[in-house]
Symmetry: C2
Subunit: 213 residues, 2 copies
């Protein structure tokens, strides 16, 4: 079971506790690389356009990290998309956790959330979690899923991210039966009633958000 963590450049106040003690290999995205090096972690791979780094910072990064992929800012693919592809194909990750994606620019956050709708990223979506200090987001493909109650997170929310049919929440505090959404819809502040919660749907993608106040 190979774990890969990707750290982007969002503000450190949003990291979960003990981030740098996590197991697994690391990929840094843009300024996330500097944060990793600052914590004495050498990423397997550094990705970014690095336009927010000084020449000195970039040179230091290139000395320490053996694989640096410098992307052109004029591109179809974002830094995070490239990092995710590399986690999958180069590092053969079984599980991928994304950090440093929240608390700053909302365009970055939305881009990182919506990328999983792209056909290229559907396959990798079920391996991924997007995590910050208050939230854990999972991405579900059609089928029946059993979510595990993580005691520390009171709220359980579901966001249909486009063309979701027959969304069913049979055993949560607030139930839903074969809901079909014509546009992205957020069902928030639901809660577990048991140690697991079931969610099923027939098409589309659903983001599940565990959150706490």
């Amino acid at each position: 079971m190979k774990q890969v963590n990707i750290l982007a450049g969002g503000p450190p106040e949003f990291y979960p506790d003990q981030l740098f003690k996590l197991k697994g290999e690391w990929i840094g995205v843009d300024r996330g690389n500097l944060r990793l090096l600052g914590a004495d972690i050498t990423p397997q791979l550094a990705v970014g356009d690095f336009d927010s780094m000084t020449a000195t910072e970039l040179n230091q990064l290139k000395k320490k990290v053996s694989r640096v992929l410098q992307v052109n800012p004029i591109k179809d693919e974002t830094d995070t998309e490239l990092a995710l592809k590399q986690a999958n194909t180069l590092l053969h990750a079984d599980k991928i956790d994304l950090y440093g994606m929240t608390g700053g620019r909302l365009d970055h956050f939305l881009s990182n959330l919506l990328m999983f709708l792209k056909p290229d990223f559907k396959e990798v979506a079920p391996k991924v979690r997007l995590i910050d200090r208050q939230n854990i987001i999972l991405f579900l493909l059609p089928g029946v899923h059993h979510l595990v109650n993580i005691g520390d997170y009171k709220y359980l929310s579901f966001v249909s991210l486009g063309n979701v049919t027959e969304l069913t929440l049979p055993d949560e505090k607030y139930r839903l039966h074969k809901q079909t959404d014509l546009y992205p819809t957020a069902y928030v502040s639901n809660e577990f009633l048991n140690s697991t919660a079931t969610v099923s749907f027939v098409s589309g993608m659903v983001a599940v958000i565990y959150s706490r106040d």
Copy 2:
């Protein structure tokens, strides 16, 4: 031109500077009310389930605010949706700015972003801005729009929120011509080339995000 500001309970570190010096009337949502009272602002209306407030806090609120709408947590409508409807119908707002919606629970943020896709909120969407310290989000309906370059925000991003057809960005740094998106898609880190930028599309809704590092 009547301005109404709505303050939700997100963390104060995300407020833009000088928030409490803004002109206009206020609606507080949940703990946002306590922040308004703490800044010597009495909201026209307080909305919320108030389940995160103590009985003492709620009593103080009820003494000071003449209109308090206490909603049931088991409901189809979120607090913010109710606040927005009241801004429109009770206070007859011409412009509505939303604060305190970011930096905390991501389910809350996504719910507040996606509510504008609901048929009930399409009419009000063009009056609304969602603002925090780094971002300003606008919601556009189909047509041709001319966005004004606000010098302080380097980046201009476009997020098609569902069923957007013929999205065209003719005069930005990165251009797009009659793009039709089958699923929500983020076009991020674009930039103004001139004092205004044009965006047009034929159906659906587009969120425009002004952002800065």
